[in-house]
Amino acid sequence: MHDMSAPVVHHHAPPTGFIRKYVFSLDHKVIGEQYYALALVAVYIGLVLSWIMRIHLAWPGFAIPGVQYLSKTGAPGGVLTPEYYLQLMTMHGTVMVFFVLTTAPFAGFGNYFLPIQVGAEDMPFPHLNMMSFWVTCVAFLVALSAFFVPQGPPLSGWTAYAPLSALGQIAGPGQGTGQVLWAVSIAIFCVGQLLGSLNFISTTLDMRCKGMSLMRMPLTVWAWFITSCIGLTAFAVLMPACILLIMDHVAGTSFFVPSGLVVNDQLQTHSGGSTLLWQHLFWFFGHPEVYIAIVPAVGVVSHVLVTNLRRPLLSARVLVYSMVAIAFLSYMVYGHHMFVSGMNPFSSIAFSFPTLVITIPATIIVLIWIGSLYGSRLRINTASLFALGFISMFVSGGISGFFLAQPSLDVMLHATYFVVGHFHLVMAVAALFGIFAGTYFWFSKVTGRMMNETLGKIHFWITFVGAYCIFMPFHYLGMAGNVRRYQAFVDDFMGPLMPVHKFITIAALITGAAQIVFLYNLIHSRFWGKLASQNPWEGTSLEWSIPSPPPFDNFGGKIPVVYHDPYQYGVDADGKDYVMQDSPEQVVSARDEK
């Protein structure tokens, strides 16, 4: 379907002054970079937290140098107390899921590239966009502030199950102020994401240039669009849930606390609340949230992969439909986090079927990628390595989902390291690989310089092998019965599993160190990297038709007209094997979406 009408464009003047250019910027590109920078800070915080946790697990009682400065009571002499392990674990999950995985692939890359890839000068609501970043920034600072209140951050996990999270300080260290700060931070974060989603949706629907029909949008745009639709509904549920939780702490309500609870021999005065209500609200958000983390990465990987295959995907349309199917199904599966939670066991069966069915679109996506690899002219560079590595990781992580989707097997695997292995492979590793692929791919467009390929490949190899060394063994630990969220392993059967934990910790430290190579490459290349041509990867989508870095209004005042879909590779066009979307040149191609 053609969309031949161009939107009304209001040209704005270039920004002036340091504050307007770099701080409170209305430019979607700067906002995208700001989100990416926030995610970068967050990921290194999350990484250090994971190191502390892993060292403590493998060598309990070991004095980790420096941690005593984070909390004198939580880690006296550098040795973690049981509660502080849980507090660090809670913040690790919170920082990584919200401030890295929801931020970088979606808000980071999406803000930068969505308008460019649809041929727009900016998003329709630049002020809301600016607010969305700064609101997210405030949320991040509020979350981090939990480290510095007297009892420290909450210990209830990133999932904050009630009533542990709702009873207040009496339930444990950090459950008073720390938990309230956590809930406030997440509620504020939801606002930021809602604002961002509004912009993404309206840009995609209303700001496409002439000729840019929906089916001619790059897969990245589809992925960001679908993600923002999910985000709008998911965050809209999490925010009130957090507000209700805050009210249980400060307003004397009992949304999540039933009557008759006794903590420390004191009968609690709460009454009327439902413990399971928190789980339903949280997971109604929580499951779509993991698709918010992975769908942008699926889009980026598709985009990076096809550019390096030098031929169109077998069917980009099928990929779009599969992503839509995953988004649709994502609302029906959330109860698989609650199979043994005490909800009606019939509900468990009901939730397990869509969970199994969601395998189908996920498989279709992987098969389309692998099928497109067949007969291609694969180019190997750091970006394509991470894209291919994503496929491997996504398969590994996805297959452990076969087990967890079945309630009868969840009886043995729930709350074990099997679950931790599963979600780390799909979220932490696969989504992160999507971020890395996008970074190596688009760095030259954002900065005008190339990232160093040698350092990139070193980063890739250590991360790929290292991530498997860390997270594959988690599955074996889980099958043997290793329970998660334990600060120490005192069970009789854990003795023979301790060497596995030591192996994992060493792998984690090495793999983590490789991320410093990435950071060095990022910073060094930004200032001293080899100057890049406008289209070093010979890409077809609109971002490659503009200078690197792009001018403030993306297209220099001249909005493009699009004649082709973004995957016209493997054609014969004047000595080139590709034709750009905005090229009026007619070429013979396998299929050209209208």
Partner: protein, 267 residues
């Protein structure tokens, strides 16, 4: 580099499968009547997952090997059947497989949850609280006395909040820190939480069930082997979560009767 990458994927895929195939880290031997269904489901799923995992990784590696560094004249080829064949494969093969797992797996789940406990199941109450499990047996009258949460007192060891002065039914209740049960007898566990969420997990029994504050939940099972098994809390409940455990002692009927008599004398 592409061929090296392909090889790495193959090595990692095979290395990942080795511990599973060699049964290096495994769940312990099952001691329940419903366990075999779960274990069979697990094996079935493992075989199917294993085949999918190896096939996907090996084909990915093979294609990376074959289609990188291609010679200049080599044409671009389309996968035979194109997208349609792959969609059909996904829908049919994967679809049938996962639905089959779902349908047959329901039987294992049903054996735990959809069949009610039999009339002569031994009822035992379990209370989970920060950070210990306590168990209550109904005593010779076969009835549990009412609970009074406001009377819970750790220092006087009134863990359940029983009023043995005024409640007749509570007088003969037996409260223990250990869950002892007679072998080959159906047990009906009546579960409630004192403070926050907890969970009851016995690997050998193939049972895991959360305690939900505000809800009275139950599970039933029949233990088939005498022995001592760990009960683990698997729902994050606070700083002592890692250390919250108890023991399930499966005894012969005579040993169990004797134990219960001894525990009753200690009340």
């Amino acid at each position: 580099m592409a061929k090296f990458f392909a090889l790495t994927i193959i090595i990692i895929a095979i290395a990942s499968a080795v511990p599973i195939v060699m049964h290096i880290w495994e769940p312990p031997v099952d001691i329940s009547t419903h366990g075999p269904l779960i274990d069979a489901q697990m094996s079935e799923t493992m075989v199917e997952a294993g085949i999918c995992f190896l096939a996907a990784q090996l084909i990915l590696a093979a294609f990376i090997w074959r289609f990188s560094n291609r010679a200049k004249g080599e044409k671009i080829k389309s996968f035979p059947g194109g997208a349609r064949a792959l969609v059909l494969a996904a829908v049919v093969i994967v679809g049938i497989e996962v639905l089959a797992l779902g349908v047959f797996g329901t039987k294992a789940w049903a054996s735990i949850y959809f069949t009610p406990p039999s009339a002569n199941a031994l009822p035992i109450q379990v209370q989970a609280g920060q950070f210990a499990f306590y168990f209550r047996y109904p005593g010779p009258d076969g009835t549990f006395g009412p609970l009074h949460p406001e009377m819970i007192n750790e220092s006087t060891e009134n863990f359940f909040g029983l009023d043995t002065t005024h409640d007749q039914d509570s007088k003969d209740d037996v409260v223990t820190a250990e869950l002892a049960v007679p072998v080959n007898r159906e047990i009906h566990l009546l579960m409630h939480a004192k403070d926050v969420g907890h969970s009851f997990f016995v690997r050998e029994l193939r049972i895991q069930q959360d305690f939900v504050p505000g809800l009275d939940l139950s599970v039933h099972f029949t233990p088939t082997k005498i022995g001592r098994y760990e009960i683990l809390c698997t729902q994050l409940c606070g700083l002592g979560h890692y250390n919250m455990k108890a023991y399930l002692e499966v005894k012969s009927q005579e040993d169990f009767d004797q134990w219960l008599k001894q525990q009753a004398a200690l009340q």
